[in-house]
Symmetry: C2
Subunit: 560 residues, 2 copies
């Protein structure tokens, strides 16, 4: 046997998930794989790394996240996230799929990255159906069959259409689940089950959907885990009572940490390591928190070739100075040190560029014509701490045949895929308090062009500028563009480095704040006014949508 190793790591405390402890051992690596772990390894090696007594843990594994939330493409995302110690992700590319269909997914799949990126098949593209929203792509049974051939597909992404799953055996989502179960019977089916309980939860589980990454409480955990649901805990679920519940019930085997959506500005600072640090600061033992960010997520996705520092597993590892911050001092992927670098950006195929197929707006586009003297209208009222909206009905004056919406913001949707060229209006409460406009093509999930404003000229300027930069974000104040964040690929992501994207995004955020947009996360609030699966009233190119009823209602209900 050739006992020459590529690398031996000495003088480290190695994390062992099976004993849930650290051990003072040495690790030998060959061909990117851990091949031997022992108290002392005497064989020769091409290189030796002195860990200087540091903690050695596996690279973090993030199994529920969306690369598009970072507004970047896989190569850029990889560069950013590896620096925080995330070495494997399972991404659900449902944003790029909404814009570009399967070709968008294949474009993501085609990119070479240091980060191991596996994918879930987006299960809800479009999020509802073509009666309620126009999208650039659709993921149907044919696309699912094709994608399932690829071994980098590791799950069916967050299934959310409860009615379609439970009560409609012929719905698209039912057909997609059937297809997955037939072709890859052990493919994990991931769910999106917020506030789903009792018989409804059982109905989801009965269909084979066995994980949930949405917001959890102590009560939801005590119902979901004993019913066999694997929980993917994201930061918004990390209340003290949730962490205590997971610890007290020794539930470590049945959950993991995930990031879901991390925007470019946050991604500059941290990633999954932040959740591990937070869990430890909340009282979880580091050995358990690490377990749930490495071993359990890998096992959930049947990625048993990683998530532990034992022979036969991929040599992805981090060296840490402490077990509190979880900021890695050194990062190794496939046994090779990862330096802070810029991976070359691939040539972006033309089909993903210049994708905003709507005409330039004119002032007239932002006038709501109306008869009578007063109009009873449906208003979208924003909740400042969530992405939910509530429906209100208010009586607004009509002057010279135009609706006077003073005190509210106009929200106009331009169908952008060149299919109907529809222009649709809505009115929003608790959005902009000041004069100006915001335009974006980053609009979950249909990603049509949203233009919000309190001044018609500013709205024209914002929309025109957005078309000029091929999508992204634009803010306007006093007839001047105050911030832009170009997302030139499909109008939703950019090939620029995360650092640059993050700076742009911070400027957009500041500009939105100056416009009086009051919310915990202004950008997410704005961009989910179009999310038709989130309560209560949202908007698409088809009109105002009551999301629970999945029905379209008119802006103006009644004219007096």
């Amino acid at each position: 046997m050739n006992m020459q190793y590529d690398l031996i790591v000495r003088n480290v405390n190695i994390y062992n998930p099976f004993l849930r402890t650290f051990e003072k051992k040495e690790a030998a690596i060959r061909n990117g794989i851990f091949v031997h772990i022992a108290a002392r390894i005497c064989d020769s090696a091409k290189a030796v790394l002195d860990g200087e007594g540091r903690w050695m843990i596996p690279g973090f594994v993030d199994i529920h996240m969306h690369i598009e939330s970072s507004m970047s493409i896989p190569v850029r995302f990889s560069d950013a996230v590896m620096q925080h110690g995330t070495t494997t992700v399972v991404a659900d590319p449902h944003e790029i799929a909404n814009v570009s269909g399967e070709e968008g997914i294949l474009f993501f799949l085609s990119q070479d990255t240091d980060l191991d990126i596996f994918y879930g098949i987006p299960s809800s593209v479009p999020s509802t159906n073509s009666t309620l929203e126009t999208t650039g792509g659709v993921i149907g049974v044919v696309e699912v069959e094709d994608l399932l051939k690829n071994n980098r597909i590791r799950c069916l992404g967050e299934v959310m259409n409860f009615q379609g799953v439970v009560n409609e055996p012929d719905s698209l989502i039912s057909q997609i689940i059937d297809t997955c179960q037939k072709i890859r019977p052990d493919l994990p089916l991931e769910g999106h089950c917020p506030k789903v309980t009792g018989a409804d939860l059982s109905a989801f589980l009965a269909r084979g959907i066995s994980a949930d990454h949405t917001h959890q409480t102590k009560e939801s955990i005590m119902e979901k885990i004993p019913n066999g649901m694997f929980l993917e805990i994201q930061e918004k679920s990390m209340s003290q009572e949730v962490i205590d519940c997971l610890i007290d019930n020794n539930f470590f085997e049945y959950f993991c940490f995930v990031t879901d959506d991390v925007m470019a500005d946050r991604l500059r600072i941290h990633h999954l390591n932040h959740l591990v640090a937070k869990a430890v600061s909340m009282g979880m033992k580091p050995e358990d928190a690490i377990y749930c960010a490495t071993f359990t997520p890998a096992r959930r996705m049947h990625l048993e070739d990683r998530g532990a520092i034992v022979p036969g597993r991929i040599a992805d590892f981090l060296l840490l100075d402490d077990l509190s911050s979880f900021v890695p001092v050194m990062i190794y992927k496939n046994g090779k040190k990862i330096e802070n670098k810029e991976t070359p950006v691939p040539v972006i195929p033309e089909q993903f560029l210049h994708t905003l197929h709507c005409r330039k707006a004119v002032k007239e586009d932002f006038i709501i014509h109306c008869q009578g003297t007063k109009a009873l209208v449906n208003i979208m009222s924003i909740e400042p701490h969530s992405t939910f909206t509530t429906r209100k009905k208010v009586l607004l004056p009509v002057q010279d045949g135009k609706l006077d919406y003073t005190g509210y913001a106009l929200l106009t949707v331009f169908e952008r895929y060149g299919k109907s060229n529809a222009i649709v209006h809505g009115l929003v409460e608790n959005a902009m308090r000041n004069k100006g406009a915001i335009a974006a093509s980053w609009a979950h999930d249909h990603h049509n062009v949203l233009v919000m404003g309190t001044d018609e000229e500013d709205m024209v300027l914002a929309q025109n500028k957005l078309l000029e930069i091929d999508g992204g974000f634009v803010t306007v104040e006093n007839h001047v563009v105050t911030a832009i964040c170009p997302l030139e690929i499909g109008g939703i992501v950019s090939s620029r480095p995360i650092e640059s994207l993050g700076k742009d995004l911070e400027e957009v955020r500041s500009a939105m704040q100056r416009l009086g947009y009051v919310h915990d996360n202004e950008i997410m609030s704005f961009s989910t006014l179009s999310l038709l699966v989130s309560p209560e009233i949202k908007i698409s190119d088809k009109g105002l949508v009551l999301t629970r009823e999945q029905s379209i209602i008119p802006l103006v209900e009644e004219v007096q």
Copy 2:
């Protein structure tokens, strides 16, 4: 939602693996799946089962076993094993593969059974190579590629060829592993690693082989589990110190119970339930022992559709009167009650019948011709408590040109696949003490015809009778056939019920004992004298084989 269920089970204590406790709950089943578990289920159902306060646990899952060890075919095996509460197995069909190649495996796969039978791909058919043994079938890369298309294939079966795995990248086993990893990267690779430790164990693991079902000790467990090996604990490993080690280290997540080889006579009495009962009697909590016979084996094989009584999993369950004997009072498979029955036997294809292609023996076949007056010969000495043999050299007299082996038994191998028609001799110590003969075609792993005897006429009779019944076991005493166990399919299994097979086998066993065969398991001892991967000296149609060296040695070393 149609809330009509097929069955509601009430008045039971249901085992929950996630909480590792029993709960007084009710279970609703529809279409063979658990669809709801709750304290009280009020919806209507076609049927209600009153569990009368019994314990309700998932059906047992046995992930390392060989159906051929029962000497029966899948339909018969299913009938027998379901009565003991085993509802899912992962079988390694390497015996039928040795006899009939991939077609033998497909014959097994084709049988409809109540029992869910998944399969591992036999990784070592032949156990060594065609220089050392002749087999009826070979499982090469082409066969592996074909079998991998079938979703009932759940793993690569016990890989044992250490040299081939570790040091020979072009060996057949290396190619088979490469093929599996390429086509089904998350397919579990099962190992056979007795007494493998240190760098050798790491080398096995480094190749991706991550489970072992062989004999364990406290020391082997403390090395294997922390190195990431999943352990499949069979009865011979269940010493008190092993059970204590598993309990004290809270290793439940990382092992399961398996049966490996259970012959027809044992199978009449119990199956995997016996190991659970034994573990509990040795101090393991029932909640933990059940876990390791249901949940962990299912997870190891990525069979996450079973192994727990929660919504979405297959409704395989048992009702028990107590948590000590684990003899099920009622057995349900896919939500339907299983009665003690005889499943119709399929038509056995002609190719699997009349498969002993060797001629009838004559007295001359059992005479060892020799020159000189004395001969130094290699003897196979049987160990009474294991399947190991040791090599001895003894000086035997030669009379009239014939070797006089008085005090030993002659063991003659007839090549039975019609390829060479070779006849090969060995001599055995500690086998038969009395006059008579034993013949069998159930001879691990090559299954050529073995005839052991102390009387030439008896050997002729035994061999001829064996051919007449198309294989199985025959014993002869005083020129009279004393017992037969026909195994008419491939010479290794039968389509008769387990009950009938078990009785035959008991008679063979008794007859062997009367012939003075002294061993803990006479049949297993006899049938592994041909197993070329088990120490130290074994026999095939090619000659006497030193198993460690994988070399052939002559019976007669030297003539004086």
